[in-house]
Amino acid sequence: MRRFIRRYIGFTRCTMEERIAYRKGFLVSAVLNMVGILVSVFLWRVLFAQESVIQGYDWNQMILYVLIVALLNATLGFDTERKLSKGILDGSIASDLTKPIDFQSMSFFQALGHSLVEGGTALILVVLLAVTLTDLSPYLNPVSMALFAVSLMLAFMLKFCLAYFGGLMCFFTSNGFGVVYLRQVITDVFSGAMLPLAFFPAWFQRLAGVLPFQASVYLPTQIFLGRIEGRGAVRILALQALWVVVMWTLSGLFFRFAVKKITIQGG
């Protein structure tokens, strides 16, 4: 395991340096996240001026929900997937395939480097906003914080798997944009990134419950907001881990299948 990490951690370092090297772009991306959050904040501010609780969320909870979603999206957004699908579409993936490394692991560690930088800046921003906009005190108990931290990590891994899986779809179509976009819609809606799942009709909530997407965004927020506690929270972590294993394995199999198909078709 240590040897494995040592081999791949270089990709993480390189991506991090690359991200930081684009100095202005990097600083500005922090502002960019801010804009998206601000629109939501203004919108909810008006809505909570009319009512104090909407679908079981009060102002505090809703803003924290928005901030956690923003953090997760900034950490591993659709950029990763777009980059991956671009590599597949323009054929630059070929040079990576000739290296004696596991492509999936390499992609993961690259995404990790990207995410550490982006997530790091986003975290500062999100914490600042959380402190100024909400009353954090009810949520700051060590147990739920620890559970939340684990949940976040699992959510990151799952998000990677989902993005990677979506990117691989590009092997089978000439229209990468369409695939990426379709997955973006599905992910946004079913993960709870668009709105908390409680806002949706009951049938939709049941459907979302059996899909992997909610484990990448919705479930971690529920742990942080203390809406699910104790054994329920542990069960969530187990479910997330399960989805990570399932999606990682599926992606591996799918990748092998896709590459074989391409070799047979000759590109």
Partner: protein
């Protein structure tokens, strides 16, 4: 006149080029039609849980959405070349444009055409017309003229904001993020201006006038404000054109050519 003719000749040639990939051509059109699904889904799910946003009902807000979609669509369809100026610098495209005896802006605008924009623009129109129908707006000749004018000027503002922010990224030597950030601000154009603090309202009507695209014509057409309020739209248009010209001139001044 000659400029416009050459622009349409370029766009026509681009479209014919796109048509040589037949399936992609259709797929991108439909992708454009569906591209605003997330936004519309958000709107409809949200309004199942709340009655109004600052007194605006779902169809009133949908009109703001429609205006933003339409501008976005026209930008994508005809003026996609205004994206990624910094990238064009690095590819040496700007070098090439500069050796030709027509305006640089024209060549940049006409560089790329994307049919997805047609789908997006149509979605925007459809959303607006449907919502106007639902709201039973009383139309008169004046309102019809204002509607058409607002679509044209709004699309123009959208293009100019895009061009200006792209030039700003070029001026800052590839700070692509800044363009993304300004582009994200368009989300603010999708809601009534009343929900934002004063500073934001002013910015949205002047420096980054997304509200002039949607909110300004909408309040007039919906009868929420008197007709003279509409003048904010042409005023914002003039301002953003000036701003775009100024930033682009600055960027070109700093331009050091590709490969250096």
């Amino acid at each position: 006149m000659r400029t416009i003719r050459i622009f349409f000749q370029m766009t026509g040639a681009n479209l014919r080029g796109l048509m040589s990939f037949k399936t992609d051509f259709l797929v991108s059109f439909f992708a454009g039609l569906l591209s605003q699904t997330i936004g519309l889904l958000f709107l409809s799910v949200l309004f199942q849980n709340i009655p109004a946003i600052a007194g605006w009902t779902v169809y009133e807000v949908a009109i703001l959405y429609g205006y933003m979609f339409f501008g976005e669509g026209i930008l994508t369809l005809f003026f996609q070349g205004t994206n990624g100026l910094w990238h064009q610098v690095r590819l040496g495209d700007i070098d090439r444009y500069m050796t030709r005896p027509i305006s640089l802006e024209l060549q940049i605008c006409g560089r790329q055409t994307n049919l997805a924009g047609a789908g997006t623009a149509l979605t925007g129109l459809a959303v607006m017309l449907y919502s106007f129908g639902k709201l039973q707006i009383s139309w008169n000749l004046w309102k019809a003229i204002l509607f058409v004018v607002s679509l044209i000027l709004g699309a123009g503002i959208r293009v100019d904001i895009n061009f200006a922010s792209s030039a700003l990224a070029m001026l800052l030597e590839g700070a692509g993020g800044i363009k993304g950030a300004i582009e994200r601000v368009q989300e603010m154009g999708k809601y009534p201006l009343d929900i934002y603090p004063k500073v934001f309202r002013i910015i949205l009507l002047t420096l980054i006038p997304y509200a002039a695209i949607s909110y300004v014509p909408a309040v007039v057409l919906l009868g929420r404000a008197p007709y003279p309020y509409f003048l904010l739209l042409p005023a914002a248009t003039l301002l953003i054109i000036g701003l775009r010209k100024w930033i682009f001139a600055k960027a070109m001044e700093r331009y050091e050519g590709a490969g250096n």
